[in-house]
């Protein structure tokens, strides 16, 4: 693919992090190209959220390097990540419940008037504009987001990423709380953003979704990378095998977490 010839948008190399004794991420390398969607899969506790939180600056890795557009990136906190146009939609929605939609959308990057005072009216106007595009039914601009439904809250989180011109978008189970219609909306949005040249990490437990949206999949198990593959080179069953057994199929590039063939054979024998 011609995307592969350019420098990767994001290149995370040999990332390690542990919490106490738990090796949450153990030597994972993963990359992402412009206009590409990489689906990150793995069972609960595999380390997916932890890995992307390192990219978004929420955690500091114990070891490993991150390159953005081929240059080494220093990401020590969420502010640094934002400087590299990395925007994240977190699994546990990172919204302040007591604030309104507009206040959340601009949190940390408020618009101010000439005197330096918060320009709430302009922020609300911008929020109305962007949400009109993403979720035309959204009306609750005057209430704190605690009064919104899960889907409405999700649209605020997505609007925040879209508004600030993300180049690298991280979506950690963006549709987990959503109904059918809203899920379809997010899928359309992912396709649209992809066509605009963004790179997207999409974490999801829904293999169908991932096969529908992603160009590549990467599978994690117990903090390690089992392998990665173009969706065209593997079947959904093979990816399930990667997730559950750690078995890397022929069409995939094996990672450190792949279970060697002889060991698998022994398991199958028993």
């Amino acid at each position: 693919m011609d995307a592969q010839n350019r420098a990767p948008l994001v290149d995370m190399r040999d990332i390690h992090i542990s919490f106490g004794g738990v090796k949450a991420v153990d030597g994972v390398s993963i990359d992402l190209y412009p206009g590409e969607v990489v689906g990150l899969l793995g069972h609960n506790g595999a380390g997916k959220s932890t890995l992307i939180k390192i990219l978004s600056g929420a955690y500091q890795p114990d070891a490993g390097e991150i390159y953005v557009n081929g240059e080494k990136a220093d990401i020590h906190n969420p502010r640094d990540a934002r400087k590299y146009n990395i925007e994240t939609i977190y699994q546990t929605l990172a919204l302040a419940d007591n604030l309104k939609a507009a206040e959340n959308l601009f949190l940390g990057r408020e618009l101010t008037s000439r005197t330096g005072a918060l320009d709430d009216v302009r922020m609300e106007a911008e929020t109305r504009k962007i949400l009109a595009r993403l979720n035309p039914n959204f009306r609750k601009f005057a209430s704190p987001v605690s009064a919104l439904s899960g889907g409405q809250r999700q649209s605020v989180a997505i609007a925040r990423a879209v508004y600030f011109n993300a180049k690298i978008l991280i979506m950690d189970e963006p549709t987990a709380a959503l109904g059918v219609q809203e899920t379809a909306m997010v899928a359309d949005l992912v396709k649209q953003l992809k066509s605009e040249g963004l790179g997207i990490f999409l974490i999801s437990h829904d293999i169908h979704d991932v096969f529908d949206l992603a160009d590549r999949v990467a599978v994690m198990k117990n903090g390690q990378l089992v392998g990665s593959a173009k969706v065209s080179d593997v079947s959904q069953d093979e990816v399930l095998g990667m997730i559950i057994l750690g078995k890397c199929p022929p069409g995939a590039i094996p990672g450190p977490g792949a279970i060697p063939a002889e060991k698998l054979a022994r398991i199958a024998h028993v």
């Binding site: 978004s56 929420a58 906190n77 969420p78 502010r79 934002r82 994240t88 977190y90 546990t92 929605l93 990172a94 919204l95 302040a96 419940d97 007591n98 604030l99 206040e103 959340n104 949190l107 940390g108 990057r109 408020e110 101010t112 330096g116 005072a117 918060l118 009216v121 302009r122 609300e124 106007a125 109305r128 979720n135 039914n137 959204f138 009306r139 609750k140 601009f141 005057a142 704190p144 605690s146 009064a147 919104l148 439904s149 889907g151 409405q152 999700q154 649209s155 959503l178 219609q181 809203e182 909306m185």
Partner: protein, 448 residues
């Protein structure tokens, strides 16, 4: 995401012509009217409670409570706690607590006292015109530094605020004693003591009117400026009548306050002594001076205005509320929560110093036990005023009202000759009931 209905019982226009105007409701009944005016129902509840307290005390004391004299004293007595309560709102909203404010007040007052009485006169002479400014600036720096120290330990070293300020509660009270090894500092600078609201420490009739008129002008300006800005973007507006009712009510309260304060005369003898002390001619005929608004109350007004601006219109204020609503979200949004935490305690330190000015000026001396138990009064005022200990919710205006409610109870009981032990019991019970009522209200309305 298709959910457009609003709280149960609120009529929603099904066929809204312009979607932007959907959140506007037709007023229906008292509740609907209050909603249209966008006033906080909890705030109304507190104002009603305050009025009930005043009326009951007035009836029980045979008309001694609602008098210019008593209301004037009430306004002065409330000031020190009210000023600190505005800072405590920020502290509690950000899910912290500050138990050190009373001790810090005492420490700042002692530092300012020695500075102006024992140190400055040696260099500048007694009653040098700028002494009061230097003393207040010095006190504010002390408060700022102490607040920064506590805030640093809380924010950057992650020691819980409860522990740090409990340590501060003990340490600064001890430090207040050490400043003069326990001696009370007196007399304070003549200009400095005016901030206590005693003789000469009031605006007088004319300036009180100026103050009142400026306040009314500001009320009108803010109401219509906000309206104009929302209109520019074609946002939903409050109905015009609601805006006008708001403005009229607030302005009327303001004007009534000026009239009442002006109705309280300065005692003839005190007025003449004041003139004598300043080598001014003393006329033989009666002076008929009005007290007008006391300087401590002016200080409360200025502090309240600034703090409201900080809370509503600055990034710092927005971040404090965000941290209270969801500390993780604030952190992930790139807010430097450690630094904001330190700033919050620095602000609290400055306010404790300002309250120290008022408290010591009122007594015309600085004693090391000044501000004892104030931390509890301040926290109670903020909480009675609707600040949620869970963080994320609270208003400056509410905290000041809370301080006024508490002081009204205490003054009223003192007028009745209730023993101070019983006063404590009543104030304690009221605190718990206020929070209980608030909890029930929040649960029913479903807000955090």
């Amino acid at each position: 995401m298709s959910d457009t209905q609003q709280a149960a019982g609120v009529p929603t226009p099904v066929h809204a012509r312009n979607p932007v105007h959907v959140d506007q409701n037709r007023p229906r009944g008292v509740g609907g009217m209050l909603r249209a005016m966008e006033v906080d129902v909890r705030m109304i509840g507190m104002i009603v409670a305050l009025i009930v307290i005043w009326v009951v005390f007035d009836l029980v004391t045979g008309g001694l409570f609602i008098t210019p004299r008593n209301l004037f004293n009430l306004s002065v007595q409330t000031s020190s706690v009210a000023i600190m309560a505005t800072g405590m709102v920020f502290v509690i909203v950000a899910r912290h607590i500050d138990l050190s404010v009373g001790s810090l007040l005492g420490f700042c007052a002692m530092m300012m006292g020695t500075f102006q009485t024992n140190w400055l006169p040696a260099h500048l002479g007694f009653n040098y015109p700028a002494t009061w400014i230097l003393a207040i600036a010095f006190g504010i720096i002390v408060g700022l530094v102490v607040g920064a120290l506590q805030g640093f330990i809380i924010g950057y070293l992650s020691v819980p605020a409860f522990i740090v300020t409990l340590g501060g509660y003990l340490a600064w009270r001890g430090a207040a004693w050490w400043v003069t090894t326990g001696q009370t500092v007196a007399p304070l600078d003549r200009n400095f003591t005016l901030f206590g609201g005693g003789i000469g420490g009031t605006l007088g009739a004319t300036w009180s009117w100026v103050f009142g008129i400026i306040a009314v002008a500001a009320i009108i300006f803010f109401a219509f400026n906000g309206r104009r800005m929302r209109k520019a973007f074609d946002f939903p507006l409050k109905p015009m009548w609601a805006e006008i009712v708001n403005v009229v009510v607030l302005s009327a309260v303001m004007i009534a306050f000026v009239i009442v304060m002006n109705a309280y005369p300065v005692p003839e003898r005190a007025a003449k002594m004041y003139l004598q002390a300043r080598n001014m001619p003393v006329p033989d005929e009666p002076l008929n001076w009005s007290q007008g608004i006391a300087l401590p109350v002016v200080a409360v007004a200025v502090v309240a205005l600034i703090m409201t601006y900080v809370a509503k219109r600055t990034k710092f204020g927005r971040y404090v509320f965000a941290m209270g609503g969801n500390p993780q979200a604030a952190e992930l949004s790139g807010i430097n929560t450690r630094r904001i935490t330190m700033y919050i305690f620095m602000l609290m330190g400055v306010l404790a110093a300002i309250s120290g000015v008022i408290a010591s000026a009122r007594l015309q001396s600085a004693a090391n036990d000044l501000g004892t138990l104030d931390e509890l009064r301040v926290i109670a005022a903020a909480v009675i005023g609707g600040t949620s200990l869970a963080g994320g919710a609270g208003t400056i205006f509410g905290a000041i009202l809370g301080a006024l409610v508490m002081q009204s109870l205490q003054s009223g009981m003192a007028l009745l000759g209730v023993e101070s032990s019983l006063q404590s019991i009543v104030v304690g019970v009221v605190l718990v009931i206020a929070v209980l009522v608030d909890q029930i209200y929040r649960r029913r309305v479903g807000t955090v």
